[in-house]
């Protein structure tokens, strides 16, 4: 299953080797090392303090929630979480970096040896998984944001400075641009699922760097092209396009210089979405020297057993196991299951309704068709709805019991969306209970037959279409409450007796 695809290009054969580093901002209440609020946007430089501005004398203090989120993410991605950990400093100069270094973890990352399964099949196909190993996940602080105005000044917003990040480093297990994008997608889905991140790619909550090179075989001789690191891609399309472009570029470069890669050296690139090409930021001859030093302001620390266990218990059920379970427990299709589990909140909402109802399959239909339609139309989230899973469960059960018709149920649904009233209350308020009591309907049929002798004459003359008309009159007389099936049957029975 994990066989590496071999490509050919003229007389060359080659494999693509891609490893990813994903930066993900965590949804903690405060920043990583100070008590400033952790939130996106806002007026520039309004959520800053001496610590996140790196002012002379300021010192970091590790937020507990930060480490907990890191551990939860680690467990969710199949990692081992280290009990003993510490922080280090990584140095480089850039205006958005306030201290001239970033606090990160170098040789003792919080999490190691993880793995995720990426699904190579399309949405309605049976899943086809590939394992991607995760080398490490470490904690790291985010930097500020620069705004360059052409021909004028550069401005920097430090609201993001010190926002807690995790960096997820994969092994070079991806062998196509598509797999790299799928890896990012899977990580995003999982981390969103456990509530560690909002996964908002446009706002930069998640960014991906891809390290890519080729294993080329020419006349039996094996080469490795120099590694390119493509920085800061924040869409799945960018990952696919940039990696695809880079495969072509490296092949072309290989044909001219046949250079083998050397350890420690790489070319750093950016992806220009508009031009559709990678742009060199630092050449491959530059050795990047981060001059790591142990962060002396933060004591190395040991996580307690209870801390570790709490983190483990907060992971909950992940998307893939949940899909398998939903398929089995509720008899749903792959497509339905995939849709219901895109977000944990939706899956939980569905499951609460399903558990409360006698017909989970029908509940799924209601959620997928009606509830999602309302969310999309109004562009709101589940918790902004006036109805709860209990509303849908009870609505479905009311239909299943035959108390109201499916058609009436749509009206009830519309009304409970507006009022938040329970279905039973709405049915009662409008007197909508379907009448299935045969003797009651028989009485109405008798009245209708007595009031329409002309129609009966027509029937005797062979006009069979009066059945529908008479049934309609029965429904009308019952104010729509009569069970239509029962009404039709009774009309037909009485007409037969006429002969």
């Amino acid at each position: 299953m994990n066989e590496k695809p071999i490509h050919t290009d003229g007389d060359l054969t080659y494999e693509i080797i891609i490893g990813c580093e994903i930066h993900c901002e965590l949804l903690t209440k405060t920043k990583a090392f100070c008590s400033c609020e952790n939130r996106y946007g806002g007026l520039p430089n309004t959520r800053v303090c001496p610590v996140c501005l790196g002012l002379p004398g300021a010192m970091p203090v590790v937020g507990r929630e930060y480490v907990e989120f890191g551990a939860i993410a680690g467990f969710a991605l199949g990692c081992e979480v280290s009990r003993f950990t510490k922080f280090d400093r990584k140095h480089y100069f850039y205006p958005d970096l306030v201290k001239g270094y970033q606090i990160t973890q170098y040789d003792l990352p919080l999490c190691t040896n993880g793995q995720v399964l990426i699904n190579l099949a399309s949405q309605d196909e049976t899943p086809r998984f590939k394992k991607v190993r995760i080398e490490r996940i470490h904690l790291e602080e985010d930097v500020g944001k620069s705004l360059h105005i052409e021909g004028a000044h550069s401005y920097i917003d430090y609201n993001r400075s010190g926002v807690p990040l995790i960096e997820i480093v994969s092994k070079p297990d991806m062998s196509s641009p598509e797999e790299a994008a799928l890896f990012m997608q899977t990580i995003r889905e999982t981390l969103k699922y456990i509530g560690a991140t909002d996964g908002n790619l446009e706002e930069g909550s998640m960014r991906c760097d891809a390290n890519i090179n080729l294993k080329v075989i020419e006349n039996g001789k094996e080469w490795r092209t120099p590694i390119s690191e493509i920085k800061n891609m924040n869409s799945f399309k960018a990952i696919r396009d940039a990696c695809t472009y880079e495969v072509g570029r490296q092949l072309a470069e290989f044909r001219t210089d046949r250079q083998n890669f050397s350890q420690g050296f790489k070319v750093t690139m950016g992806w220009d979405d508009a031009k559709g090409e990678t742009v060199v930021q630092r050449t491959k001859n530059s050795f990047i020297d981060y001059r790591f030093v142990v962060e002396p302001d933060i004591k190395p620390f040991t996580l307690s057993d209870s801390f570790i266990e709490t983190a483990r218990s907060k992971v909950g059920e992940l998307p893939q196991p949940k899909r398998d379970r939903f398929r089995k427990e509720y008899g749903l299709s792959d497509f339905d299951v995939n849709t219901l589990t895109t977000e944990r909140s939706l899956a939980d909402w569905f499951e609460q309704a399903a558990k409360a109802s006698r017909d989970p399959k029908k509940v799924a239909n209601w959620v997928l068709a009606e509830v999602l339609a309302v969310l999309n139309e109004r562009n709101i989230s589940l918790d902004e709805l006036k109805i709860t899973p209990a509303h849908i469960a009870s609505l479905v059960d009311t239909v299943v019991s035959g108390a109201i018709s499916s058609k009436q149920a749509k009206d009830v649904f519309a009304e409970m969306l507006e009022t938040g009233d329970m279905p039973e209350a709405i049915v009662k308020k409008h007197g909508m209970e379907q009448v299935s009591d045969t003797s009651l309907i028989e009485a109405i049929v008798a009245e209708v037959f007595a009031a329409n002798p002309a129609a009966l004459d027509d029937y005797r003359k062979g006009k069979t279409n009066v059945v529908g008309w008479l049934t309609g009159q029965v429904m009308k007389a019952s104010k729509g409450k009569a069970n239509p099936g029962t009404a039709t049957a009774l009309v037909q029975k009485r007409l037969a007796e006429l002969k």
């Binding site: 004398g57 203090v61 001059r291």
Partner: protein
């Protein structure tokens, strides 16, 4: 009484009994400073004497009249120029921080202010605390009040000069490798480097963060105890601060010397650079302990030979890292040739830092670069771990460890300023204390024939501040 010769504790008593006002005290110190400014060779201990000190003193007098009884109400102190006081400049003696005003209080300052103390001014220092003579200050050198041709030591030379020169009753300095104890020794003062973690470093501009500690200067031992009782203890803003109660230090009783176990590390005794006069004074000190029934024994801690090398590897690595933030982007000096970021950083840092600081940044970065230096930093760290272990081992059998503070007495201004290696060796006897994170007090133990002060260090186990201060108190009582 001469206010400028009074200790902090005697000033406190005078304020409490109403024989003095805080206004009179602050005015006396300001007058002393102003008069000295006009002298031929001013001490140059203060970089800035705060304009508002007198106003704060008047306020303190009003509060005292209303019954305010905070422990340091109306008592003045001087503070080294690398400790943040909200609204005041904090420049670390450097051009690169000219114009920077601290927007917050360092915790040590905050605690003194909360106790009612009044900051008199900020004191001169070697730029970013790098130096042993205060000659590497961009504000010019400070002078030793004992002999103005001599250095007061460094890097906290300004803080020592103002206390020894009668311009403040007590002051805060900082240490990375001896920067409080050395000036204390040169100027004839008590100078304490507390255990790493006793005092919060929040708001204290970092040099070598794993070694740095705020230190205190005073003319009498009680003053250090009193100030420490107010300043020490856990700070939620400093992860490395210790959660311990130091309030007992406000009232020091002398220690019982009889039976006290005193260790003398032989590595320092046979040191070739040790001045014979200092060796003699040190012997007298040992004799003083023996005469009072202490058990004084020589111990061998071979790893101490490597202390100064390990110290410079770690201190300069951390210094290079800590000083990265001074880049001309957000505050302080900016030189921008308009050619891009790299050029802006280079121009700003070239002009903002002096040669000594640049030298240490370059060495520190070299040491951190595995590409160039291999694992020099790692080796330095492992030597340090040995030092911590072996020194801790000594305190399993001994109460205190005794050694000279400096191999020489205060040297002449200008004599070592162009010889960095000679300057580095001033810290020969002090750096192991910072590496081991133990507390050490430099006690004035005597003077040479020329009348120059000589200090002896009393080192204690982790958080053994009370122990060493009480030993010093016993010594002080017999002088």
């Amino acid at each position: 009484m001469n206010i400028c010769e009074m200790s902090l504790l005697s000033l406190k008593k005078a304020l409490d009994s109403g024989t003095l006002t805080s206004e009179a005290v602050v005015k006396a110190y300001r007058d002393a400073w102003e008069a000295d400014q006009k002298s031929a060779l001013p001490l140059n201990g203060y970089i800035e004497f705060f304009e508002d000190a007198i106003d704060l003193a008047r306020e303190a007098d009003v509060l005292r009249a209303k019954g305010d009884a905070r422990p340091l109400l109306g008592l003045p102190f001087a503070v080294k120029d690398n400790i943040s006081i909200k609204g005041k400049s904090c420049t670390c003696g450097s051009r690169i921080l000219r114009g920077y005003t601290a927007p917050y209080n360092a915790t040590v300052a905050e605690r003194l202010l909360a106790a009612g103390a009044i900051p008199l001014g900020r004191t001169n220092m070697d730029e970013f605390a790098m130096g042993s003579s205060t000659e590497y200050s961009s504000y010019g050198p400070s002078r030793n009040p004992v002999n103005r041709e001599l250095t007061p030591g460094g890097s906290s030379g300004g803080s020592a000069a103002v206390v020894a020169g009668g311009q403040a009753p007590f002051s805060l300095g900082t240490e990375t490798g001896g920067s409080v104890r050395l000036p204390a020794s040169y100027c004839g003062l008590y100078g304490l480097k507390p255990t790493y973690g006793t005092l919060s470093r929040y708001g204290v501009v970092a040099f070598g963060s794993s070694l740095d500690q705020v230190g205190l200067f005073s003319r009498e031992i009680d003053d250090i105890g009193l100030a420490l009782s107010v300043m020490a203890g856990k700070d939620s803003k400093d992860d490395t601060s210790a959660d311990l109660d130091f309030s007992a230090l406000a009232n020091l009783s002398p220690a019982e010397i009889k039976g006290l176990r005193v260790a003398l590390p032989e590595e320092f005794m046979r040191e070739k650079g040790l001045d014979p006069e200092i060796a003699a004074i040190f012997d007298n000190a040992c004799q003083w302990f023996r005469e009072r029934g202490a058990v004084v024994e020589t111990v061998s801690i071979p790893v101490l030979e490597a202390a100064i090398a390990s110290y410079y590897v770690i201190a300069l690595s951390e210094a290079a890292s800590n000083l990265s933030r001074f880049d001309g982007i957000r505050y302080g000096l900016r030189k921008d040739p308009g050619e891009g970021y790299d050029e802006l950083y280079v121009a700003t840092r070239s002009e903002g830092f002096n040669a000594e600081v640049k030298r240490r940044i370059v060495i520190g970065n070299y040491v951190l670069s595995t590409h160039f230096s291999g694992d020099t930093y790692k080796k330095g760290m492992s030597v340090r771990a040995r030092i911590q272990r072996d020194v801790a081992e000594v305190f399993k059998s001994f109460d205190v460890l005794l050694c000279p503070t400096s191999p020489t007495v205060a040297f002449k201004l200008g004599s070592k300023v162009d010889d960095p290696l000679a300057m580095y060796l001033s810290d020969l006897f002090t750096t192991f204390v910072n590496l081991a994170r133990i507390p050490s007090l430099s006690v004035p133990m005597g003077t040479t024939a020329e009348g120059l002060p000589v200090g002896v260090q009393i080192c204690g186990p982790h958080y053994g501040e009370e122990k060493i201060l009480r030993v010093a108190k016993a010594w002080e009582a017999t002088r």
